[in-house]
Subunit: 466 residues, 2 copies
């Protein structure tokens, strides 16, 4: 089987010297990591928060029961049918979501969406009135389908955008047709959006309560948008399933998932490295960096622990960030995402034969230029003392994207155990939501207290502005 | 005069306690910073690398002579005319550049480009064959104008893309018309692109040799793309001129540029803060974070010094990165970019009167939702011990964008003096270019040596892959 490979040539060095890892110290962590892995194997069908591991097999009865029971097994058929219907009837498709619920689908559309497709895809994951206004100007709402994703049914940004688009559409078409323009993806068991679906007749597509937003790319939340943009979601799920099986491998040195977790953990906790550079050498994979950044930051950034992910892009950022990586503070570990075979080949033509200074370029292609730059940068970082590894993707296809998502998702619970943090909560984001709700006038004691607190900063005397 | 303001309420705290800065320690740096500022005032008309400060007045004779002499004063007329011609004759405009030469224009088009304009703007700043292929599929080359930007004339990515597009166009139109589809922006005095212009008859628009790519947004390199996308570049230059004058203010506590430099430097060098989060609360300002990241990373990341810039986006990244900022390692300083007045107003309608749980949203707008989230996040970060300041932009207009560019550009030479580094070179990026050229087959001793060095890693026995 062809699969994603982990090249860690430039991770390894003398451990006494600088930031590189020695084979010995990696090996010493092997037992601990393997124990964590074995624990997770036992927990995967019991613990709700690990249910995302079962998503690749949850839509197909042939794989037998999963942690979801029957919740999802016919959902894929619903998604396939909905996607066909949407593609044939609508000119635009708007995914309304934010955070983890949005990033997986956005990464998929960016990597694999058919450029020549007829239906335009919009993924507003912000409440910027200028952006939402532009989308409203671009689409004809009466020819647009909207997919609303909020597992809790309480995500304020998603709800606000939903209401705005719904209200615009309501002005254009008869009330009884409104529901044909929406699917709502939410926890089917409880929550205000599930109730709304019952009241208004919107199609509810279930997001199981146990699947957290940041692990939801292979849930219906990621799949519908992918299918509408022309991506083969069966292949995607296949890739994820294959990588899941492969990374169940118990032998430490044969399992890229365990090794990558080891590099991350050793670099961060023993080498004074606090920054993880995610550096795809592919325009199409740049949103994978956004997706994995979210996974790393929100899952592991707690109790004063964690590493700061930084999204970059090659070759572009060689002209922007590389100076800092090579000669700035030695606090970085770099993960390249490389592509072995691009789906296009573009030769660099001999456009101006008289210019001998450009001769070395002719006969090359953009393909080997970009590939050469990636390898050159990996070596140059190494020479400057910056440890780096490369996730080598054979080609950008649904199958390998499925592999990539699963490989990286599985790293997180391992790291959660190593860091001894709960990788599935995000207590640190609640407070700002409460302040915001308070400013918006929400009733209740907690909000009234927040409003009082904030009055302090509404007085110019307490502000410093120049 | 309305202008960008710096709100530093949440920077200030007890210096003995955590990461906040005390007024005393800020004040103590005042003299050093003001001396650096006074030096720069004396140097600005003498030193080549500070010539970018004169760009806002370089196109208009009424401001008198500048460091550029007569090089640029009629260039703005050329740009205005070219832009009109391009808009009237072409369906697509492709800016071919990379790094600093590309990021300023991209930030401008993203912030201010007329969404309803007829001409499509493409800014390929990478050599990804999949992306370049998509642009080739999208445009009709015979209806497309290309602007090539490379001051040195030797930027391999820019040249390669140039040759690809040129070759495609050559297949479609008569040879004598080719030159009407191109402008080339380069050092007019020397270099292979200047020679090529003379040989082939391309219009050369000068980028003065003294203006470095990362400080070139107000040079012709930024202006033509801006003008073609419908931006009032006179207003832009006016804003920059006004901010330049304002930030010549000598009194430390009255000058946001000096204060912002002080925060950056104290946080980085005295508070163990190594990460600078750039957090615009505006979809339209997100590429300002890319632009300033490049300025900070490449100018100051050297000699083991510097801070790592991280590009983020509000409110979106509240659902992605905020957990880490609030509860992860305390190594971050946050700079918000807020907008006081968005150009659109979108109310949140009462779409479902029966749902009382959503009632607190109705009567609000996306505008005050996004504004509330920004202020809420600033307070929440402060409560968690994370110092943060806000650059408050009255509105996203060419005038204020000009102010923003100038304010942030002027911070850099001040910091260069404080860090005692050369803010205008980038020695750390050369090596990877040499390795890449070697892989592409360039002749010469240095490349042959590199090729030999790299043969080591071409042997599987020397690679670690799993």
């Amino acid at each position: 089987m062809e699969r994603i490979r982990l090249d860690f040539t430039h991770v390894i060095g003398d451990s006494e010297n600088g930031k590189f890892l020695s084979m010995e110290e990696i090996g010493q962590l092997g037992d601990t990591i393997c124990s964590a892995h074995e624990e997770l194997k036992k927990e995967r069908l019991k613990k709700d928060e690990l249910s995302f591991l079962s998503l690749p097999i949850a839509y197909n009865k042939k794989y037998g029961n999963t942690i979801f029971g029957d919740t999802l097994w016919n959902t894929k058929t619903v998604i396939d049918q909905k996607a066909e219907q949407i593609k044939s009837r609508f000119s635009d498709y708007v995914q309304i979501a934010i955070g983890g619920s949005a990033l997986g689908a956005t990464a998929l559309v960016n990597a694999l969406g058919e450029p020549q497709r007829k239906i335009r895809i919009h993924t507003p994951d912000n409440v910027d009135p200028e952006w939402i206004g532009e989308i409203l100007d671009t689409i004809q709402t009466e020819k647009t389908f909207f997919n609303i994703i909020s597992k809790s049914g309480g995500t304020v940004e998603t709800l606000s955008n939903f209401f705005v688009f719904y209200d615009e559409l309501r002005k254009k078409i008869p009330a009884e047709q409104l529901k044909d323009h929406f699917t709502i993806m939410t926890n089917p068991e409880k929550g205000p959006l599930a109730e709304l679906c019952r009241e208004e007749g919107f199609t509810l597509i279930p997001i199981p309560n146990s699947v957290h937003g940041r692990f939801s790319v292979l849930s219906p939340g990621g799949l519908l948008t992918a299918a509408v943009s022309g991506i083969d979601i069966d292949e995607l799920l296949d890739g994820a399933r294959v990588m899941d099986e492969f990374t169940e491998e118990s032998e430490f040195w044969k399992n890229p998932m365990l090794l990558y977790a080891a590099f991350h953990y050793i670099a961060n906790t023993r080498k004074d490295i606090d920054t993880l550079i995610l550096l795809p050498y592919s325009q199409k994979l740049r949103t994978i960096a956004d997706w994995y950044s979210q996974l790393v930051a929100e899952s592991l950034g707690k109790d004063g622990k964690g590493i700061t992910p930084v999204k970059a892009l090659g070759a572009t950022d060689q002209h922007s960030q590389l100076q800092l990586y090579n000669e700035g503070p030695m606090n970085k570990f770099v993960t390249f995402f490389s592509v072995e075979k691009y789906r296009r080949r573009i030769e660099i033509p001999n456009a101006f034969p008289s210019r001998k200074d450009y001769q070395y370029l002719w006969g090359n292609s953009l393909n080997n230029l970009l590939g050469s730059e990636q390898r050159a940068t990996a070596i140059s970082l190494y020479n400057h003392g910056v440890p780096n590894c490369t996730l080598r993707m054979p080609e950008i296809t649904p199958f390998y994207m499925g592999q990539l998502f699963m490989l990286l998702e599985k790293v997180i619970p391992i790291l959660g155990k190593l860091y001894n943090v709960n990788a599935f909560d995000q207590p640190g984001v609640e407070e700002s939501k409460e302040y915001a709700r308070a400013m918006l006038g929400k009733e209740g004691k907690v909000y009234e207290e927040k409003r009082k607190e904030m009055e302090f900063y509404s007085k110019p005397a307490n502000c410093k502005v120049v």
